[in-house]
Symmetry: C2
Subunit: 114 residues, 2 copies
Amino acid sequence: MKNNKLEIQPVMDALEVIGGKWKFPILYSLCSGKKRFKDLLEDIGKITPKMLSLELKDLEINGLVTRTAIATVPVTVEYEMTKYGTTLEPVLRHIQDWGKKHRARILKGSTVLN
Amino acid sequence: MKNNKLEIQPVMDALEVIGGKWKFPILYSLCSGKKRFKDLLEDIGKITPKMLSLELKDLEINGLVTRTAIATVPVTVEYEMTKYGTTLEPVLRHIQDWGKKHRARILKGSTVLN
């Protein structure tokens, strides 16, 4: 049991940084390259600009995303995954893959216990 | 962009079922075999019994976990991952692994942007 407890802590640690409703979708969107704020808004769909801004700041603080302001008129702000952020790509791809299979399962109407 | 939008939906779908603070740790705990309610409480540590109960019910509804009541005195309730639940094991192991590396990185004091 003690051993198991030790093993759960890293899962909790990871979720402190990448948990919540929006961080995975934001990071997933950035897997395909740098994006402007409004591109991210469009990609993710239901997120509010305020929430997106907060989530991006969190990801920036944790070294997963960089924010670059370009001196255009109006100013262009781009977000990009850091090298460290890209270490999450396998997790993101796995979750996406599982989500696809889960959707297929629901559409088949087989969400009852097996 | 449109293509990308299509790709993000499965991530959102997955998080509908396995998102939140507790579902990953609960599922991770059940990776090592069936557990009684109090074992799960002990494993996860900071969760309240009420929250654990709600989260387990959600996981049961989504076919990821089964609940078995055994007619002992007092009654023993065991939770176990379904075969479908085990399809999440690669995701859980990846997150755990990432959490370990993230902790090591924080302890080294290198959470600044790279």
